[in-house]
């Protein structure tokens, strides 16, 4: 990284800066002419002196001459404006490009930080620096050379013009510059120092914010919110103090500048006026000088501002660069160098004399040596600080040892590019990370290292990227390395993914996710047909079984007592927000329909009954009680309001209440599921009228609302509902014992009969993992990460307590699956418990940063005095 801002600017924008300079230089003569012309117009054309008889062979009189000169003046205004416009756009583009380059190179550096660096720099700080701190640098880069040249040149042009008119007035115009030039930088220096402090403090704030967000559970669990707020207050206070001080000083500088600038006209009026009166200066020249002086203050101000920005930008650049240039940063070619297509790391591992120092240069591991045979399955066990985890991290080359070396298949892994270690090896740590994407995308990441093909010609976006020194890899091209996965088509990839899910024991979970997911994006008509067939089969099987009443099917003509009143009325799935459970009670169209079938008053009456039951049941409970969210129709915040409403309705009677009040009750009955809630409010008469409303609702719905709902139709797949709901096409009876289990069982049976399981697992793979995989459990995240590493069939699978979050049954299964999946290839597995090591070819026992025992599980256990027996006893 360039050490100073100007080196950075010069290296990457030399050409553009020179173009800018040339453009600037060309503009000056025009500028000079536009300054000189007014004098000619006033003295000659208006004053009538020396009017030429003819111009370009045409005879002219005084008026013609005036008009011609004025026309030239107008033309010059255009030319000057045009120059300015062009130069500004050019400069802006240059600045944006350089900003983009700077951000990219900072980000690229973050990806090359040695891992220990992340203990020193927080996520918040990095984001703060890359996003906001470098932002003003972009603008400055465009201005860095051209602006002083342009404004300096303008200033000089105007000054030359003034000196030519009258050297005394010229002198007067610049008389105070030396004073300004001396005082302002001195004042500015203090502001700069404050600027530095501000940057540092904002970074700390960013770090504290990041910390509070990441540790939010701890904050709540330990009632720490007030302390956190106090800490924020303290930080904000420091920043406020600094910013206030900066403003005070900045405005003082401004005041001083303005004051000095106002002094100069004083000289013009007095000295200039005197000269005109004396006849040493023409009146036209004085007007021109005054006009020029007006133009003079703009560039001078710009120059002073430039000076301030220059100082500011230098500080910012230095402060950012400092953070992005840590010791031991990996060289660029680690990530960019490609490997031969037949390159592999299959073979033995030998590590010799590895040492790692901590931040105080004390050894954590000293002279650690170990080796592993080709395709051996090795378990690493030992106490948690014994070094087994470091051994795996070193092997995966995530950490470079301070001394010593590791050879894999005879190759020094320190010299290998990431293309070698990150493809031919697979590492999974205890904190398996899952990205905010679908499960499938997360697994496929394991074989997406570079674009497989590249167009000869760069597209427009990439051309721009090239100009800013950004990556030329097109995100839109194919990245998936089918060859590494060992498949040749989309279909076989799907099969392979399901296999992998089985290996990591995630297939059943993904299957359940698939059942609950929608196929809304699917264009596969055949698949939808299949699911509809399953729906039919399911109903047939159900009708024949003794659990036929466990599912209440949707029927256009029948009220479904296991569905809510809202669902019964809509008889479909809401697509947008307008008919969802929060809004249906206030939707104008719904209310209109209710009115038409004479249900509106009934709903208000029922709503009042519901409200009074809810108040009776829940009023005594503390407002944060879980029952509110689980059972109550009314949230604890709204309960007091309903209490008041009820009291009012008792006093006035429902009919005499204001519409606004009684409408509050209206939304409650929509939530009733008659079979579950047993409130005895939905009589047969009301059911019939809801059916009437259902019919009317579908008939009279306008096109605009038609897209807000997808109706239940026995013969159609409902894209807004989950696959499971599509197969059920009804509601599970809530009053039947074991209904959910029995029904699920039958659904699964039908799905397997119809061979739909792979499809459903695939649908499950398309579900979102959530922010940092938050929708998955830690165990599921670990399983997904293992599948990700297995996908590319690595020569070495390295696991660092990677199944620690799995329950023991699943852990045993995954372990034996992995051992057979990786047959003929290496597994190195740091285990959290010694007893798990039994099925491995070989066991290495780490203690105190050394291998203390080495051999097969059987042999080691036989010895009376052995560490492994101690470890086993401790479990």
């Amino acid at each position: 990284m360039e050490k100073t801002l100007f080196k950075f600017i010069w290296r990457y924008s030399k050409r553009d800066q020179i173009i800018l300079l040339i453009l600037t230089a060309i503009s000056f003569p025009f500028l000079y002419l536009s300054l000189d012309l007014p004098k000619t117009i006033i003295n000659k054309a208006i004053g009538g002196k020396d009017v030429p008889e003819e111009i370009f062979g045409m005879t002219v009189d005084q008026i013609d001459y005036l008009l011609i000169l004025s026309g030239v003046f107008l033309a010059l205004v255009f030319v000057n404006g045009g120059f300015k416009f062009y130069v500004n756009v050019f400069r802006g583009q240059l600045g944006e490009r350089m900003l983009r380059r700077l951000r990219y190179s900072l980000l690229a550096r973050v990806l090359r930080f040695p891992l220990p660096q992340f203990k020193k720099v927080s996520q918040g700080e990095v984001i703060q620096m890359v996003n906001s701190e470098v932002e003003p640098l972009g603008g400055f880069v465009g201005d860095s050379i051209a602006l002083p040249a342009f404004q300096g040149g303008t200033l000089l042009t105007i000054l030359i013009f003034m000196f030519i008119q009258d050297w005394m007035l010229g002198l007067a115009a610049i008389a105070l510059y030396p004073i300004q030039g001396y005082i302002i930088p001195k004042l500015q220096w203090h502001v700069n120092q404050l600027g530095k402090q501000r940057v540092r403090n904002v970074r700390v704030l960013a770090e504290k914010i990041g910390e509070a967000v990441s540790g939010i559970e701890e904050v709540h669990a330990n009632d720490g919110a007030r302390r956190i707020l106090a800490r924020f207050t303290e930080r904000l206070g420091v920043i406020y103090g600094i910013r206030y001080e900066i403003f005070r000083r900045k405005f003082f500088i401004k005041f001083l500048n303005n004051f000095i600038a106002q002094l100069t006209p004083f000289f013009f009026y007095s000295i200039g006026g005197y000269l005109v009166i004396k006849g040493d200066l023409t009146f036209g020249a004085l007007v021109a000088i005054l006009a020029a002086y007006k133009d003079l203050s703009a560039p001078w101000k710009e120059l002073l501002t430039y000076y301030q920005r220059l100082a500011d930008s230098r500080i910012k650049y230095d402060q950012v660069i400092e953070q992005f240039d840590p010791q031991g940063i990996w060289p660029e070619n680690y990530q960019m160098v490609e490997i031969e297509s037949d390159f592999n790391l299959a073979g033995e591992v030998s590590a010799g004399n590895l040492s790692i120092l901590d931040e105080e240069s004390q050894p954590i591991v000293e002279k650690l040596s170990f080796d592993m045979g080709k395709s051996e399955h090795v378990a690493l066990i030992g106490p948690s600080s014994g070094g087994k985890d470091l051994a795996t991290i070193l092997m995966a080359r995530l950490l470079a040892p301070d001394s010593g070396q590791i050879l894999v298949a005879g190759k020094q892994i320190a010299d290998l590019p990431e293309a070698a270690t990150g493809r031919r090896m697979g590492y999974i740590g205890p904190n398996a990370f899952v990205f905010n994407a679908t499960l499938k995308e997360n697994v496929l990441l394991g074989a997406m290292h570079r674009p497989i093909s590249r167009d000869e010609e760069l597209n427009e976006d990439l051309k721009n990227a090239q100009l800013s020194g950004n990556s030329l890899d097109d995100l839109a091209s194919e990245w998936l390395d089918y060859k590494a996965i060992g498949v040749d088509s989309e279909e076989s990839l799907k099969e392979r993914l399901i296999q992998l899910l089985q290996v990591v024991d995630l297939d059943r979970d993904v299957y359940s996710m698939g059942l609950r997911s929608n196929l809304d994006g699917s264009d596969d008509e055949k698949l939808l047909e299949q699911i509809l067939a399953a729906r039919k089969k399911f109903r047939e099987r159900l009708d024949k079984s003794d659990i036929s009443n466990f599912v209440e099917s949707f029927d256009k003509e029948v009220f479904n007592s296991n569905a809510s009143v809202a669902e019964n009325l809509l008889f479909g799935t809401p697509k947008g927000d307008r008919f969802n459970s929060d809004n249906i009670g206030t939707n104008v169209y719904v209310l209109e329909i209710l009115e038409k079938v004479g249900l509106k008053d009934e709903f208000i009456r029922m709503g009042k009954d519901v409200a009074s039951t809810m108040v009776e049941l829940f009023a005594d409970l503390p407002s944060d009680h879980e029952y509110f969210s689980q059972y109550s129709f009314i949230s604890s915040e709204d309960l007091p309001e309903f209490q008041t409403l009820l009291a009012r309705s008792e006093r006035l009677g429902l009919d005499n209440m204001s519409t606004e009040d009684s409408n509050q009750f209206l939304s409650l009955p929509f939530k009733i599921i008659p079979a579950r809630h047993r409130l005895d409010l939905i009589s047969e008469d009301i059911q019939n009228r809801i059916l009437e409303a259902r019919k009317l609702f579908a008939e009279e719905i306008e096109d605009e609302l038609r897209d807000e709902i997808e109706f239940f139709e026995a013969g159609y797949y409902n894209r807004s509902s989950s696959i499971q709901d599509n197969i059920l096409f009804g509601k599970i009876a809530s009053d039947r014992a074991n209904a959910i289990e029995e029904v699920n069982h039958l659904v699964t049976e039908i799905i397997d009969q119809e061979n739909l399981r792979p499809v459903i697992i695939n649908a499950g793979l398309d579900s979102q993992a959530g922010l940092a995989g938050s929708r998955l459990s830690q165990g599921q995240r670990q399983k997904l990460s293992i599948a990700r590493a297995l996908l590319r069939r690595p020569d070495h699978l390295i696991l660092n307590e990677a199944t620690a979050s799995l329950d023991s049954g699943s852990q045993t299964l995954v372990m034996s699956n992995l051992l057979s999946e990786m047959k003929g290839r290496n597994i190195t597995w740091a285990l959290q418990r010694a007893s798990l090591a039994e099925n491995f070819d070989r066991v290495l026992i780490f203690s105190g940063g050394q291998v203390v025992e080495d051999g097969s599980f059987k042999d080691l256990v036989k010895k009376e005095e052995s560490v492994i027996n101690d470890l086993l006893r401790e479990e």
Partner: protein, 148 residues
């Protein structure tokens, strides 16, 4: 069966006789009303227990497996509670229970039950009274068994 009818049944349960109407209604509202068909098990001996059942309608048979086959120890009807031991102390089900005819029950889960006890200590006292009287009865039966 509607909520209010369920509450009427609960009223007649000795365990709940002294408990306020509203609390019983809350108990009913937060519990599932389930139908078990003839012969369907409510739970089986040895399973972990997660809920107690209050019979609302119909009859259930309580029986244990012995070497000589299953032996019915009781038949329970409307207003009887079954399975409460397992949710008070973490022991597996001590007997099996199945529906004799179509039976309607209120399934009170462990969480709901514990909530009821912590939120309304008067119920806890009722339970204690009931358990103490059962213990007393058992003691008497034991003494009779020993002396006879």
């Amino acid at each position: 069966m509607s909520l209010n009818k369920e509450v009427e049944v609960l009223r007649d349960v000795p365990l709940f006789s002294k408990i306020d109407h509203t609390k019983l209604k809350l108990l009913a509202f937060t519990s599932e009303n389930l139908i078990h068909e003839d012969g369907q098990f409510l739970f089986k001996e040895g399973e972990p227990g997660d809920a107690a059942y209050i019979v609302l309608k119909g009859k259930v048979s309580v029986f244990i497996e012995t070497e000589k086959g299953s032996v019915e120890i009781a038949q329970l009807k409307r207003g009887d509670v079954v399975g409460e031991i397992s949710i008070l102390c973490d022991v597996p089900r001590t007997a099996s229970v199945k529906a004799v005819e179509s039976v309607q029950t209120l399934k009170v889960t462990k969480d709901t039950f514990i909530h009821l006890l912590t939120e309304f200590p008067e119920i806890a006292i009722e339970i204690m009274r009931e358990l103490a009287s059962r213990l007393n009865k058992t003691n008497i039966q034991l003494r009779e068994a020993l002396t006879s």
